[in-house]
Symmetry: C3
Subunit: 667 residues, 3 copies
């Protein structure tokens, strides 16, 4: 695995560049990303391209043996371009333009902006085609950042009409699929369609879902424009994009389709402050929530692995608060990424920037050029990891994730506490607490190789999905379904039958009632003889062929079934109708793993995680106290990095043991 860094030579005097490169080499950095946001530097006036500075930087790096990844600079069209074509600006639902001054102000459906994009990307691609040091490209930057996937401008209105025209077999098909009889929302023609702009109350959920799909597809098409141009210029380099963490408005599978591999931008102590996967504890403020971070590693990991394109290097500028990470945390995160399949970890950024919006964002070097906390961590990580030659992660369990479900549930969460990623995280944490490796996959992917499949919420379902899952279970697979599964058709209408609709036979039961209780109501279930808290969402189930293994034991639904199990074919299906607390999620995970014959460990504390890749086992300590582990059974760990006692925010790496054989002896 490689350690890299994001570098902006244009922000520093040219005299400094050689020193920078020297210090990178000293740290073990062998890949550098450049060019992001540099449009105004590359083309200060229309047509007057200036590549000289970037050529020089590429050359300096290349000579030092460092590979270069370039970025297309399209996330920040320069002021002259915006002034030439103000129509490229995105618009809010109330019609306010998103003006020049930050970034991502362009509309993906602007024909004018697509032309400008073609112009600049072709120019750059042609210029660097055959350059021996440029090994790959990142398109644009963090599509959708600052809630910019969805735009409500007139260009988007036209494009949305076209998108619907192609998707539907005439306007009656759209009316039927959406269900527009409700509140007289019938459309007489595709010409009548508009973006869901500001209205008096909530919008039609099917219109919102399709607008969400359309908006994501608009990014996909825009990105494809770039990848096609880049490949046309040189088909040796790779093309990727840097996605964001637990991001809710863009289908990363679709965007990722033409990419060699995905990358993402990881900021653990920032994410921990969004409270989506749990409370912001002091430990998480110092090192992040390991499960929140690795859920993204596992999501963006594909056939060719993945990169962390931006790794948090120290304190950062954008969360509500900016605590200093724990001592060593920047190294810990690199190890965690690699353990979960990363082939490169690139810190963002080389040096704290003295100008603009990110002055409160650390780099590996401080603003005066001296080494920052992250520099030492990055160097140590490079030392630790440089010689490891690692194959892929092998996960026995799949977690199903689909953006359509995310969008449908985000538009109608039906509770202020219901967050799609939070629900995924709840079940994911149950598995990771038991040392199990997890692939995050789409339900369209092949599931045959997984002993167990956890689907926290396959909210939209049709017969073909039911068939695929049925075949999986029939062949011996063990399927676990979470609440709200199968409730809706793909068009975001309720199923004609009770939930889980087409999954009913598989589950062996149905949903009688649901509720979204506030925290002031006590909500508990008894599962396999133990009593557990749950929150946010509860269903009362009716078992048909399934066995009731959990029941509500509080309040109006007291005694109603809450968790079902159902042996079918050579496998089994479990359905859990509540949003589990951490203890219930653990118990559910253990039961599933045992049904599926998947080995698991003792339960690790929430700040300790163990990950495995290609015969290596990482013990990752996200807490402020040292932890000692021991190996159970016949395996005996050989420690390549560290030892059985892992310091605060520290990491140890072993061979000849496995995650599930480890347990904590002291804390």
């Amino acid at each position: 695995p490689r350690i890299g860094v994001c570098y902006f030579p244009e922000h520093w005097p040219r005299e400094r560049w050689a020193t920078d490169v020297e210090q990178m080499v000293e740290a073990g950095i062998d890949v550098v990303r450049m060019g992001e946001f540099s449009w105004a530097r590359l083309e200060p006036e229309r047509g007057a391209f200036d590549f000289e500075w970037l050529d020089t930087a590429v050359e300096l790096l290349g000579e030092a043996g460092i590979d270069v990844v370039l970025c297309t600079p399209t996330a920040t069209p320069p002021k002259w371009l915006v002034d030439d074509h103000p129509s490229i600006l995105q618009e809010e639902p109330d019609g306010t333009p998103r003006a020049f001054g930050s970034r991502r102000h362009y509309c993906f459906n602007s024909a004018v902006y697509r032309e400008e994009t073609e112009r600049v990307v072709r120019e750059m691609a042609d210029h660097y085609a055959e350059n021996p040091h440029v090994v790959g490209w990142q398109t644009d930057n963090e599509y959708g950042c600052h809630d910019t996937v969805r735009c409500y401008c007139d260009d988007c209105a036209s494009a949305f009409r076209e998108w619907c025209r192609e998707r539907y077999d005439g306007i009656d098909d759209l009316n039927e699929t959406w269900g527009t009889t409700f509140w007289s929302q019938r459309y007489g023609s595709f010409e009548e369609l508009d973006p869901p702009r500001h209205t008096a109350a909530e919008h039609h959920p099917s219109r919102l879902l399709d607008y969400g799909r359309f908006a994501s597809d608009s990014v996909v098409a825009y990105n494809r424009l770039q990848t096609d141009l880049l490949r046309a210029a040189d088909d040796d380099w790779f093309v990727t994009h840097n996605f964001m963490g637990t991001f809710s408005t863009l289908d990363s599978y679709d965007v990722g389709e033409p990419l060699e591999f995905g990358t993402w931008d990881s900021y653990p102590t920032g994410f921990a402050q969004d409270r989506r996967l749990g409370p912001t504890t002091p430990d998480r403020l110092r090192a992040g929530d390991p499960d929140q971070v690795s859920l993204n590693h596992d999501l963006y990991r594909g056939e060719n692995g993945f990169w962390v394109m931006e790794q948090q290097p120290g304190d950062i500028n954008w969360p509500p608060h900016s605590p200093q990470p724990g001592e060593g945390a920047m190294r810990l995160w690199a190890h965690q990424a690699v353990a979960h399949g990363a082939n490169a970890v690139c810190y963002f950024r080389w040096r704290r920037c003295r100008e603009g919006q990110e002055q409160y964002h650390a780099g590996l070097r401080r603003q005066d050029g001296s080494p920052d906390r992250g520099y030492h961590d990055a160097r140590q990580a490079a030392t630790d990891l440089a010689d490891l030659d690692l194959g892929p992660v092998d996960a026995p369990v799949a977690l199903l994730h689909r953006y359509d479900d995310c969008w449908a549930l985000s538009e109608q969460p039906h509770s202020p506490e219901f967050d799609y990623w939070g629900l995924l995280g709840a079940f994911y944490r149950g598995l990771r607490g038991r040392g199990v490796q997890v692939d995050v996959v789409s339900p369209g992917d092949t599931l045959d190789d997984y002993a167990a499949v956890v689907a926290p919420s396959l909210h939209l379902a049709d017969e073909s999905l039911a068939d695929r899952l049925g075949e999986y279970v029939e062949a011996g697979g063990h399927l676990f379904l979470g609440p709200r599964s199968g409730a809706k058709l793909p068009g975001n209408k309720l199923q004609p039958t009770l939930a889980p609709g087409p999954l009913t036979d598989l589950v062996g039961g149905q949903v009688d009632q649901h509720e979204s209780p506030p925290e002031t109501l006590t909500t508990r279930v008894t599962y396999c003889g133990e009593s557990y808290d749950y929150t946010t969402w509860g269903e009362w189930l009716d078992a048909e062929t399934a066995t009731v293994v959990g029941r509500h034991d509080e309040g109006v639904g007291d005694g109603k079934p809450a968790v079902l199990e159902h042996s079918t074919g050579d496998g089994s299906v479990a359905y859990c109708g509540v949003w589990p607390g951490t203890d219930l999620a653990d118990a559910l995970a253990v039961a599933l793993l045992e049904r599926a014959g998947v080995a698991h460990s003792e339960r690790f504390p929430e700040t300790l995680r163990v990950a495995e890749r290609d015969g290596y086992t990482w013990v990752l300590n996200f807490g402020s106290d040292p932890v000692t582990v021991e190996t159970s059974g016949e395996s005996t760990a050989t420690w390549l990095v560290g030892s059985e006692t892992v310091p605060p925010y520290g990491v140890s790496v072993a061979e000849e043991t496995s995650a599930v054989d480890l347990s904590v002896t002291s804390e």
Copy 2:
């Protein structure tokens, strides 16, 4: 009393309709509301009316002995109409249109929309005139829902100018009534008037109050357009409108004037989450706050009683959280409504809708057509109530309510906690906790028949009001006034004298000072020897002819008078200068009832309420534990429904006793 349901046959296959009707009959339903929001189905293209489907549904219901109430579909103009006339859209104070996509997007002052309304209403009315099954009409739906009474468009600007021109005797009269010398707000002519659009700070309160009056009057005029057309077509049917609960921007007295009777839409567990009448306790999450609900029953009850046009049938979609109602709660609510004078309770809706914005709203049947929790409750309610032939409610006490006061206090609450309906509820709860029936009436109504009158805040007052109240008291009436009474002139200027202005002689004292303390300040009064908490609002009073019966006993105002009593004529007047906590509200109510010679019960717990109508007494349990009651004195209850032990969320109905003779023996 009748049990009814809201039905949308257009959402379901025609083959199903006969089954639906059969199941309605089985449940004891004998009235059905239809047609709401169906404009696009009735007129899919301009002029191409299609009544066939609705005719069929009416006929099916009629043949089964079920009466039909139709709705005008004007709450949801179709997309083709909006596209023909975008000018009909309402506008926000900042000018943003309220676009197509939800409902209520039309401006009440759009001449174009009034023409469209005339067209569609006349067409429907003519079509169903003489139809033997159509017994009445509901105009539109929930005027003002989603905060749409007030619009800020140019049509409203013109209409507001006209409204002011008619109300005032020249622009100088307006300037004087509003008081426009302040901050140079003088108008030179009516042409200079505008809606109170976005401005840097708060708006002039007199301008706001008149804009609120104008906006309400705009709805009144718009509704009158509809009622006139409906009556012109057939004067046998009744015409009503479905109002909303504790609604703050529409004068339901004015809108109700041309209606045979009022109806309203009751969602107890949703209302309980607005915290306006008190904290959202677990009991209220399961069954609502009985006083919050019945305050609305008593408000909308008129000479011809009232209907609940939409009764919550189970879980609902719009509050922050959606807990399942307690077992039996849907029956409890029907009984409560009938006890408070309802002549029909129509559940909303027949069947959970599979499409659009209300998929998370239960019906009496589930989405697959099977019976839902509410279906069983509705059927039991129909069985319980079908044979009761009930006359009107007879209430010894009136609660005064006036929208002008609501508007004036809502524009200048002078404390984040001061909510007009919350203040009404505080005093209302005191009365209801003692088993007393209450009429909610306007101060313009005749008060002669009431032994006592409670006016939580007659904030705006003039001499004629003072005269009316004086005559009432002179003749032996007992008047109770709450804080902020009489402080302002009808134009929303302060009185020239201290509060309560023209009511000063009646009260026998004045307001020296007022304050709105935050919760962090301890605020208590001693009233008749006991110490009580109060919150939100406190006044220091000066007694003149009145007796001081309550004094502040904390803080800066320690020892200042807080409650006055004053015998005058053959009656009495009490003035309470604080927003009472529940215990003080009870003590004040008891003292008033005793002065007025109105019988009252022991104090019931907040989850138990007793109501009386025409010789029948309902014991309504809104709590999660059973309650046993006994009859005191010589009366002995005969139980028509249930018994003296009322189960959780249950109800018993007795003859030969009265609310004030009952007391709780166990809880």
Copy 3:
């Protein structure tokens, strides 16, 4: 010192005026402010000026021996003017106009409005030139109130381009100073500049800072237009403006430059609810936070002292809650103002206004004309103070304050809790708790006379500032610097070196790291052997020539230096890298005072403050319990007002002692 009042005769019948004047005289009032907001009364139609009413009022007052201060009425252009020229309206960042209906709706950069202003100010000035009773003028009213310093209209866009053109030596200079390479924000010409309107994410901090400077300068220029006209008409009267408390968007030094002295508007119980200087305790709800109020007295005090132009007279309308002030508080505030250098305290307003937005704002008289609580307090204050002939305040310590720092830190607080005025207040409270008088001065002022200088955050720094401070210390001064000092260049880019940048040599150390911890992280430092809490901001320091006197003793930074001291020249420099809690602020203040040889008292409770002016010593009790003080050492207090026991919300004034000799004997 004088006691005055703000009077609006135009709101009351002319017959009343003589009575009003009589009652003013009775209260000891000898100066009256009038004319504010009266444009529509003075010029009801364009060109039709009517001064007769104001002439009469001036004459009545003058004959009674009361001086008159007039206001230009430009804060409220009348409706006819707005309708003539809608372009004068300010605009929000999203383009929404700030419409007529409140006040301050005009744009400072509107050429049209400047013409209108000239017209009305010249007319008034000429009319009252040589009037013997008019002693001075207030320009406009509270520039910037309701967040109106910054406007985003097209007039402002043009003016901003001009402003930048004058400030910078060509567009490249601007690009370099701002640092526009970041995110391609380079400008090709001044024509490309715009106001920072709505954009997708945060704006460029240098652009924001310059827009803030430009907006403040726009007010300065607009105000200068008025002062020039007023002086041209008569150079005997004084010209002032009434500033607001701890106000963040306007440079009061710049606006104040052409004024004889500054005035400000003091509302202690309103300010206490903003929580910027600490929690809103019950005591502060009754009497305000003394340090929050006097920080403004000390800020606006200049060579010629200052006035409180509006003094809170009782309950007020604009904070979230409106508790009644403690008994006597209105007198206490007048004394406090005078103790801090006020030469006049004018209560706002004479009589509670019956119309418009401020009906919930008390006056000295109630709406019916009877005396209100404040009237008695004002009269007592006049009696107490009338005969005191007071020279200036003599303060041994300066607190440095600069608006550029306020703006830069407000745009990038980097923590929701970081408030510029809160930080100033924290250090100020430490000094005031020890009885020390403080001047709030700009770093450009001469510092030679101060034994110690506290600079809570000189965030922007260049070499010339470093030189000035170095000379001060060299000559024996004792300088104290707070966190974030010296971090940025004046253009709002980071320094090329670590913070404190050019102040590094002076400090003898640098900032290694910073963090902004949330309250859930425990943050403590050990300072001179004691352990203290801190919050909001923490730095890890590296000492070079300085001595480490405080260290973090918790969390990730445990053991890192947090406070440095450095003797240099004949003086010393201390640097504190954390936002101190009250105890640490006290300890830091004491250490500084001792180094500087400034006498100080025992620590007073937070509700007791002692202030000194020209040989008189005020003991001011902001608490609800009486406090007794005693004199230490040889001095023996002679009590001119009150005695050594100061009642709740009371005040005593002594001669022949000093603040630092007093201590509390009982509480």
